[in-house]
């Protein structure tokens, strides 16, 4: 067992942190950037490309970085710490891995260079209103026509979907609304006739979109992967995304905890720093414990997110999300509480971490959802 980063990983961490940390250090810059389309910095995105981060998941043969879950963890921790606005989760972790796992040679050859240089930003149009967190609950339909398909349906929450210039849409080519079989992925240019998007800011100052598909015609070549066989890939990519979110959450929690401890040391009451009050000290310690427990499960999720043993992977990734959610809630709430008044204003950094952590809790499954999956997988004792 080896917890050490390789030299390459250490270099990756350093360069990513050098890129991401300063970018939104100034909350004013972050707020202005978030408020103007596309809601993040395209210059910054170009720098992600220059560092090769946009090609991270792809194999070197395909012109990628050949990175795995540990490399993704390194990038996402920095993004969490830096409150980055760039759509790395949507475009690369989700979009990139869907392409990596589902695309055929021709598609890889066409797409990966554009993804890697930043010119193509993917978004995954999957979640529907009735689906909640159920990955196989897809009501959107794809009707076969001569030479193609017609897509009909609504996707309610498409992360970074407002500015993406290529959508990966899940739709049903067969089966009933909640069947695992019969789901197919399609590459859909948002400019295609019948696609309408309504973008929205999210509670954490990122972006999303609701996408409606009204008789959208796509050619057979738009199919990504096996017709009707997408659900295993969707679950795999969702697990990779959960591991990535775990890392982002740990990055955010670590920064938020440090901010809180710093505040406890500097803020005075009755003439002494409030950090001298034992009740607040112990709260800060419990936050630290929650953070370290989360960090342990972040590593565990990174190790298991692509494991072959499906049941072990299920228990591990779902168990990690449960721990991350518990820690994120505790650390977030206590950070605000210990900051007092300034904690609840948007003019201070703590609240921004708190809002992001809260949204992470509600992405790719909440505690109850993943507790159910852990139960189905038979608990954690036999997980590797």
């Amino acid at each position: 067992m080896d917890f050490e980063f390789s030299d390459e990983q250490r270099m990756l961490r350093d360069s990513v942190e050098k890129l991401v940390s300063p970018a939104y250090d100034d909350l004013g810059v972050r707020t202005r950037t978030a408020a103007t389309d596309p809601g993040f910095s395209e210059t910054q995105w170009a720098k992600f490309a220059d560092l090769g981060l946009l090609g991270l998941p792809f194999s070197e043969e395909d012109g990628g970085f050949g990175g795995g879950t540990v490399e993704t963890m390194i990038v996402m921790e920095a993004i969490g710490k830096g409150l980055a606005l760039e759509p790395y989760l949507a475009a690369i972790v989700l979009g990139g891995n869907l392409v990596r796992l589902a695309a055929n040679a021709a598609q890889r050859e066409e797409l990966i260079p554009q993804i890697g240089d930043g010119s193509m930003r993917l978004a995954f149009a999957h979640t529907e209103r009735q689906a909640r967190y159920d990955l196989t609950d897809v009501a959107t339909t794809a009707r076969k026509t001569a030479g193609g398909y017609v897509l009909e349906g609504d996707k309610s929450i498409v992360l970074s979907g407002d500015s993406a210039n290529m959508l990966i849409v899940s739709a049903r080519t067969s089966g009933g609304r909640r069947d695992a079989d019969g789901i197919t992925l399609f590459l859909v240019d948002p400019k295609t006739a019948g696609v309408s998007r309504r973008g929205f800011p999210t509670q954490d100052a990122l972006r999303g979109a609701a996408v409606s598909l009204g008789s959208v015609e796509v050619p057979d070549s738009a199919v990504l992967g096996v017709v009707g066989g997408a659900s295993a890939i969707i679950e795999q990519v969702s697990d990779i995304a959960i591991a990535a979110l775990a890392a982002e959450a740990v990055g955010a929690m670590a920064a938020l905890h440090a901010l809180t401890v710093e505040y406890l040391k500097t803020r005075k009451q009755f003439g002494v720093p409030i950090g001298s009050f034992q009740a607040l000290q112990h709260r800060a310690v419990d936050m630290f414990t929650a953070l370290e427990q989360a960090r342990s499960m972040e590593l565990y999720a990174a190790m298991m997110a692509t494991a072959d043993d499906r049941q072990a992977r299920r228990a591990a990734v779902s168990g990690a999300k449960v721990q991350i959610n518990h820690s994120a809630r505790y650390v977030g709430q206590q950070a605000i509480q210990l900051h007092g008044g300034i904690g609840v204003t948007i003019e201070y950094r703590a609240g921004h971490y708190f809002r992001r952590l809260t949204m992470i809790e509600n992405l790719f499954g909440d505690v109850d959802y993943h507790m159910h999956l852990v139960d189905e997988a038979g608990g954690m004792l036999d997980a590797a």
């Binding site: 909640r132 909640r178 800011p201 509670q203 809630r329 007092g340 948007i346």
Partner: protein, 402 residues
Amino acid sequence: MDLRYTAEENTFRDELRSFLLENIPADLRQRISEGHHVGREEYITTQRILNKAGLATPNWPVEWGGKDWTPMQRFIYTEELQANSVPEALAFNVAMVGPVIAAFGTPEQKAYYLPRAANLDDWWCQGFSEPGAGSDLANLKTRAVREGDEYVINGQKTWTTLAQYATWCFVLARTNPEARKPQEGISFILVDMKSPGITVRPIQLLDGGHEVNEVFFDDVRVPVANLVGTEHRGWDCAKFLLSNERSSIARVGTSKARLRKLRELAKIVPAGAGSMWDDVGFRNKVNAVEIELKALEMTQLRVIAAESGGGRAPNPASSILKIKGSEIQQATTELALQLAGPHVLPFHSPEAEIGDGANDLPDGFGWADTAGPTYFNWRKISIYGGSNEIQRNIIAKMVLGL
């Protein structure tokens, strides 16, 4: 011992409830029940309806439009407003400055300010908190220097709620810097918000809403006639004001209304083949909060009974009411957060009108816009008015003698 409501108390509640349901616009109550902020117009509309019926200021002296109610009746009154999603009369007018003027004001001040405060013709805000000082009023920095028949006020107040709507502000300012004790030498002064030299800067909260402000006083001139009570003795007014701020501190009615709403919503939020209400795990969470709330309601009633000269109240139990009340209110926001699921994400301004929410689609997710913002915003409940940590310090000292 008989822990049932008396027939009189039940009649009182029923009459009040039917008055509210008949007279307060349904769409307004609907908006509040969905967790939207109470807007300026909504405050005014509601309070004037209540005032017309003589129900805006029950806590005031009878001669100034108050009611000679028992503590139990007052509790029922507040709980009914909360439980039916009716905005309470503006606290700064009715719970704060009104009683102070009625108790310490001159006949002229009473005659002029009280009717206008009751009808929300004047909108008051509270000029107490200052940067750094926190809730510790004793080391107040704002100065009011007497020049002839005017005070000249300089300083800064913060966390001033809804100052953007306020036409008047009741300010604590230091009039005698040489006083022996820090809380001496403070005066309670009424300031017209239109006075030159006043600047209001909004402070945006986590939900993106504009609810509190910083208020800057730069050589603001106020007639000495606006002094309430004795000069340098404003501390008496402040203490009196703060002691009034308790009866509805647990906000039992508000939590009841929110839990009712959550039960409704859970039945229309799709989950798997059915709704979230089919999930016993979620129902258990709701039920668990309801049990805590029932216990809190009984604790509240024990305190009220004790105030009415009755039995076995914990003392000072109001700190318990504050702690448990805030925990329960916050728990209801966590339940809403879970209910909304991924649809908690889309953001639109809490000031926006209903119907324009990104989430506001026919299939009943309109309420989901408020799940995140309310969760964020309500973190303040365990912070303001003396954080729960301060409340624990109080109980440790006053009740346990530690």
